[in-house]
Symmetry: C2
Subunit: 427 residues, 2 copies
Amino acid sequence: MNAFSGKNAKELENYHAQLKQKYDEYKSNNLKYDMSRGKPCKDQLDLTNELLDCLSSSDILKASDGTDCRNYGLLDGIPEAKELFSQMLGVSTKEIIIGGNSSLNIMYDTISRAITHGVLGSEIPWGKLPKVKFICPSPGYDRHFAICEFFGIEMIVVDMKEDGPDMDRVEELVASDESIKGIWCVPKYSNPDGIIYSDEVVDRFAALKPKAKDFRIFWDNAYCVHDLTDEPEELKNILEACKKAGNPNMVFIFASTSKISFPGAGISFFAASEENINYNKKHMFFQTIGHDKLNQLRHVKYFKNIDGIRKQMRKQASILKPKFDAVLDILQKELAGKNIAWWNSPKGGYFISLNTLDGCAAKVVKMAADAGVVLTKAGATFPYGKDPRDRNIRIAPTFPPMEELKTAIEILCICVQLASIETIIGK
Amino acid sequence: MNAFSGKNAKELENYHAQLKQKYDEYKSNNLKYDMSRGKPCKDQLDLTNELLDCLSSSDILKASDGTDCRNYGLLDGIPEAKELFSQMLGVSTKEIIIGGNSSLNIMYDTISRAITHGVLGSEIPWGKLPKVKFICPSPGYDRHFAICEFFGIEMIVVDMKEDGPDMDRVEELVASDESIKGIWCVPKYSNPDGIIYSDEVVDRFAALKPKAKDFRIFWDNAYCVHDLTDEPEELKNILEACKKAGNPNMVFIFASTSKISFPGAGISFFAASEENINYNKKHMFFQTIGHDKLNQLRHVKYFKNIDGIRKQMRKQASILKPKFDAVLDILQKELAGKNIAWWNSPKGGYFISLNTLDGCAAKVVKMAADAGVVLTKAGATFPYGKDPRDRNIRIAPTFPPMEELKTAIEILCICVQLASIETIIGK
């Protein structure tokens, strides 16, 4: 089907003029809406406020092993935090390390140490090799790609399909190129597509036969419990799958409470085989004596158990679901059937991924910005910030209040249509 | 003077037998005292408990610039934390970054980034050079040396004098060897000697003319406000001195509240010239979106202002001073005038540094351990864990309760004497 099928050039010109008028009206309102990042909104943050009250000077400030959480010690976290969050990740308490307030920080540190020292099984540090490459299923998470770029790791784009990365291509690449040392994955509600990797994809990951013996899957399970529906799809357990496939050490798992409790003051997690954990702890020793144990204790007291986390996530969903629905409704109303835009309807996570006609995304993002709506930079979801087809726009519906969000998406839909018409009629 | 001057071999044998009897008595008590690390004791931690109560769900959780401290953002910290702690360090608010709960972590990260990317002014990353060396005034802090060892940085020992490192040697080394990229300093109440660098030493540091253009002074001002007396000596401001000497970018300053508030849940600081700060922030961007801002807010609300910090440190001193005095009294009583041991009487910090006869330290530490008193490993205060004269023992008086401490030091004094006699008479 052609874009705007049924409309001829003249009709498109007229429609463009109508849209332009609407656009200019919005523009004259001097809006300042920021939809650039996947930030929780105030109502979401308020959900967790009692976290601030659940640890006071009258409490026992000791971990279950007797360690005074105020003092130095426990490099890998307090036992009760390992207990609770290992359940969330489906690993054992020996397969988890509790970190600081940011899983991004753990990911960065993991790569940084791989560069300077290698990972378990590395013959030499990655930084001593002539070339290190990572596979980057795209669109993906800009911060992952930024870490690679910072360390000079060459990124190889692999397409995302409906059930995860193009595994034929992934298998072929890792089997043939020893310089490929890793792959970035957001396996549940992928950033930005909202895809859940199928069991088959997980199993194919676990069964990879990389040429590089120290190849690692960087499994950023950022949205592991971030469901928007009551019947979430399950993600197959990658660590178990890797063990079954005889590759127990091939995966590094990352997660945090950033979008469960507080983005600025949560706790983060690293999970992997016991061998990987022990190896990494030996390296971590040089970096810190231990992360903030009082905040770990606070989180355990607040959530109590895995049901506490699930309950919290249902509250989060009750705020987020209407926002996702509002965005999807407007996209449907304004763009559906025009063959100029395609989007997903995610069952969780933080983003809606919108694809325009080829060559339109950067223009749309600029037009929206000119009208006061700041979106994620076009291209940000691809390595080096370069979307080869210039078509992907990441919509982050969580932060703006509902009315702002609706207006912003209406403006976005106008911009998409304007840019599409201009592309079609060569304006 | 000879050791045990006045005592002949026979008398020493007898005295050894007496001491051995006492030692065996202590040994039979199956003590378990840990004096291995400079950890605050429970009473010290209790001083800060109200920190846990000063931020609750009913508070405004915004930083002074309006940022919601619960959410993402503010890579370099909240403005009011910069305001307060820049005063503590004697720098401007543009010359400080607020970190996570550990200054060790900032130091590690700073070196790690220097290895992978270099520092401001580096022509190539340090890790790409055939050799990188650091000057390590010794005795010093084992964790500093451990970072160097982890990154394969060669350590050059320089002696500590009464007013700081041997600056003749430091000047000579940095001026002649381009591979020397840094020097570790604990300029106030140095770990373990308790030395305060004199104004002259600070000025000579500031005026260094290193052959390496990207040479840095790693100024770990861990004990900047950790005075034990009411009239503390002042440490000259290194950043100001560096500016005056035309070397504004030559120093990196580190500090934390680990021994002001809680070791496990404090906040840490990095201070340097604005140029260094801006350069480092660009690198930090890849690692994190920002550190725990609620804990920063908590600290500012708790201390309120620089006087609040000073008041807190007087309370800390009221707990620590009697412990330092007790150690010094026992050392004086048991070891003075025997020419077998020398120690400092620090006016602040966390340690008392004890030097034995050459070749005795490892033996003393082992004997003490056998009697149930765990001291810092002998040699730990030197690079590679090797004390060339095997004589330095780091006493950490803060953690044990007073009675344990006294017993432990009595045992230590017996061990020092036993080992000394054995050395003298060749037993």
